[in-house]
């Protein structure tokens, strides 16, 4: 039994290189010497030496992170052509010489290092105790393009990129209000990733914002490379299979969630923004639901809920019904199932397992491979698994139908992380069905529902507004009411400013006259 018990872990401190807390000295040689030693073997850090008349100056930057054109014309060129008057101060340089919009003064050597690594350009002039940071970030970036993971038939076609500044601007363009607040932090001792929290001040509850800030503050790590890192550090129940934080690549989804009082976390270097808190139903909703006419969304949401059930339970129900409850199958259907199962060597459960695992493997293989090879995989899979297995009598045709229907059903879930959770849960359900029949399925279903009701995401019950039930908010869960009927925001995180719009927005012939 002892093996099961984990030894208690000691809280470890991560080793950080001690910062150079020294000030900049007037002697430039001294400064350069120290900086060169801290940038030793960093050949991408450039030390450009220039002379203002006869005062020595250095421009420091990382090659590839700065806008070379801007530095060249707005800093170097201006500095070189300047005939210096008697007293050269940092103010003078800032105000009279350098024509770059964002310039700040710093006094510590450590700040120079940080700024250079951030992609800024630092100007050190002999005899001054201050250095100037010239903000001319540049470098190669991916252009704003249509998000690949969340495509839409109707709706904005722009998606987030890896650069946080661009992402923030994309959101700001959608919500041009001074209520939209941004708090930035740096997380990661090595990566020093910029993490930004955005929320609408008048909607998001201050406790929620505080809680998220605290949770972000807790993270002490060397590097954050993706929003997934943050997600795992701040979620409520790390052991739960269900995602408790939503991620999105779409600025419009972010804006919509901000308007419902949620908080968005943006991570530099990742095109995925995190949305907290998240409820179960959020993962079954697509941004397009709100853009199409409501009849369409009404139908599609119903379809999705049916599909969630199918994705979770269909193979399990098939196993249970064909091995325990044959009386439940309509007679003629049973005959066809019996006919196709006649020469199958495996029990239904093993058969289902083979097919499900093959399907998951196929899906994963198709996902990871380069696109050209991916097609070959899908052809192979369709042919080998779909046809050959049936013809060879290894798998029955109804089982292939069940598995492919399940696969399609799981693809209708708009959010990938929820789809994969449901796909994983399918396997325990199949086990239960194979062992206890429908009884096992009901037990499994009960466990899942209980777990969902118990889960919380940043204090919001995960299954709300179904459990606890809030009638008024059901208008945006199984169905989507028309926009003119959704005059109140959901109350999960909002306490004040509940009104979204004025009343009586429903178009009618009387009013429009």
């Amino acid at each position: 039994m002892k093996r099961f018990i984990k030894p208690k872990k000691l809280i470890q401190e991560i080793v950080i290189q001690a910062p150079i807390e020294e000030p900049i000295v007037p002697n430039i040689q001294e400064n350069i010497k120290r900086l060169k030693s801290s940038f030793e073997k960093c050949s991408d850090v450039k030390f450009r030496e220039i002379k203002l008349e006869n005062i020595k100056a250095f421009i420091l930057f990382v090659d590839g992170l700065v806008d070379n054109q801007s530095i060249q014309f707005n800093a170097i060129h201006e500095l070189l052509s300047e005939t210096v008057h008697a007293q050269l101060t940092s103010e003078y340089i800032e105000q009279r010489i350098v024509s770059i919009s964002d310039v700040i003064e710093i006094e510590k050597l450590d700040d120079i290092v940080k700024n250079v690594l951030d992609g800024n350009t630092v100007l050190i002039v002999d005899g001054l105790e201050k250095a100037l940071v010239l903000n001319a970030k540049g470098g190669e970036r991916r252009a704003v393009a249509e998000p690949e993971t969340e495509t839409a038939v109707r709706g904005p076609k722009e998606g987030f990129v890896e650069n946080i500044a661009v992402n923030i601007a994309l959101i700001r363009q959608k919500l041009r209000s001074n209520h939209l607040k941004l708090i930035t932090k740096e997380i990661g001792t090595v990566s020093r990733t910029i993490v930004g929290m955005m929320y609408l001040e008048h909607l998001a509850s201050p406790e929620l914002v505080k809680e998220i800030e605290d949770r972000l503050e807790r993270i002490k790590i060397d590097a954050i490379l993706e929003s997934g890192y943050i997600e795992e550090f701040i979620e409520d129940s790390p052991s739960s299979l269900f995602p408790q934080i939503q991620n999105t690549e779409r600025p419009d989804t972010v804006a919509g969630n901000l308007l419902e009082g949620r908080v968005v976390i943006l991570i530099n270097g990742s095109p995925f923004a995190l949305i907290v808190p998240a409820t179960f139903w959020q993962f079954l909703q697509a941004n397009e639901d709100y853009y199409h006419r409501y009849h369409i969304s009404f139908f599609i949401r119903f379809l999705r809920i049916i599909m969630v059930f199918l994705a979770l339970l269909l193979p399990a129900i098939y196993i249970a019904v064909t091995t325990y409850h044959q009386e439940m199958i309509p007679t003629n259907l049973l005959y066809s199932i019996a006919a196709s199962r006649e020469s199958i060597p495996f029990p239904a459960f093993i058969e289902a397992m083979i097919m499900e695992i093959a399907f998951e493997a196929l899906r994963e293989a198709g996902l990871r491979l380069p696109k050209i090879v991916g097609q070959a995989v899908s052809i192979l899979g369709a042919l080998v698994i779909g046809q050959a297995a049936v013809e060879a009598g290894i798998v029955s045709a109804p089982m292939v139908i069940v598995v492919s229907l399940t696969g399609i059903a799981s693809f209708t879930i708009p959010k990938f992380n929820m789809a994969i959770s449901i796909r994983i849960l399918r396997f325990p359900m199949m086990f239960l069905a194979g062992m206890f029949g429908l009884f096992g399925i009901s037990i499994g279903g009960l466990i899942i529902v209980t777990h969902l009701c118990k889960l919380r995401s940043f204090g919001v019950p995960y299954f709300s507004p179904i459990a606890p039930l809030k009638w008024r908010e059901l208008k945006d869960i199984f169905v989507r009411y028309p926009w003119w009927a959704m005059d109140k925001r959901p109350t999960q995180t909002i306490e004040e400013n509940l009104n979204r719009q004025v009343d009586n927005l429903k178009p009618s012939s009387v009013q429009q006259k």
Binding site: M1, I5, Y324, Q326, E327, T331, S336, M435
Partner: protein, 385 residues
Amino acid sequence: MKKIQHILFVFVIALTLTGCWDRTEVNDLAFITSTGIDKLEDNLFQVSIQVPLPSAMGGPSGGGGGTSGNKPYYVDSGIGRNVREANDDMQRRMSRELYFAHRRVIILGEKLASEGMERSLDLILEHPESRLSTFMLVAKGNAMDILTSSPHFEQIPAEAVRELTKTALKMNTREIINQLHLPGKDPIIPVVRTVTTQNNGQDEKIELQIDGAAILKDDVLQFMTNDQEALGISWLLKRMYEKKLTVSVRKESELNLIVEDYKLKPSYKINNKLPEFTISLFVDCNLLQNEPDLNLEDPDIYSLATRKIEEEIKKQVAGIINHAKSVGVDPYGLGWLVYRHDNKLWEENLSKNWRELLPDIKVAVNVEAEIAVINNKGIKIREAT
């Protein structure tokens, strides 16, 4: 924490120890589509079953198993002192477990029905797999002959019987078993018989036909109805909706009608401590074909036509009631009507000798028919041309 791990450990062990002990794969079951019960001699029953052969029913990987030629089913029977023993007798030569949950039809042989069938039906009530929605029929002759027939349309004869029953009387096991013990009501079971395909011997097969009803006295077959009486039974059991009716109006010319809607109102008066029954029928029909070219817009001709229809229906209904009455059987449940409305009278005067009283009970049949929709044949006033 440690406690939770202990509990989990126990659970995992428990899970591995339980197992799929009552798991049965579909291909380990013999789905019985229908059962036929025949009585051979006293206390010796022959139970025949019809089982589809999945391997012969098509499916992508057919082949194999087809034992009885091209037929996708086969029939086997067992003999025993009761139905259950006969089943066990059969099971001994079957590699698959007999499975009754999908049984659609139970067919009772004529001999069994005429010597009392109730005890043979016990199994249906007792066996958890058998369904009360299974249709029950009486065979003219042996029940096994019905199972071995080969109707053209359906792959499996049981399916044919089921579909035929649906269009005719349609009595399921629950209704029949309920009726067995109703005071003042005797059960009615549809009759099925075999006929050969009527096509001058080309591709002749044994087809099935629903042929009236068996009228029982308690659980014993009393007589089987003829065609006219069968219609009467249908009227009384309210199974005549959407059914067709042919009424002879003049010599060699008939009206064809379809019953659109009808109401059946039984009533009775007590006269000298004996009930006198009146069964009223209000029938709405639509005209399908007007062979005698009657102008039904003329009130006189219309009333003539409805009178003919009324007479026809009356003949059918009175026919069966009088026939049953004369042998002391009460298939409509005249007694049951009194039992419900005048229980005291029933218990005191009628219940004991209802069967003896029955031949002398007066039953009047009133029919009021209307033709709701007519066609324009026979109408002389036409559009001016």
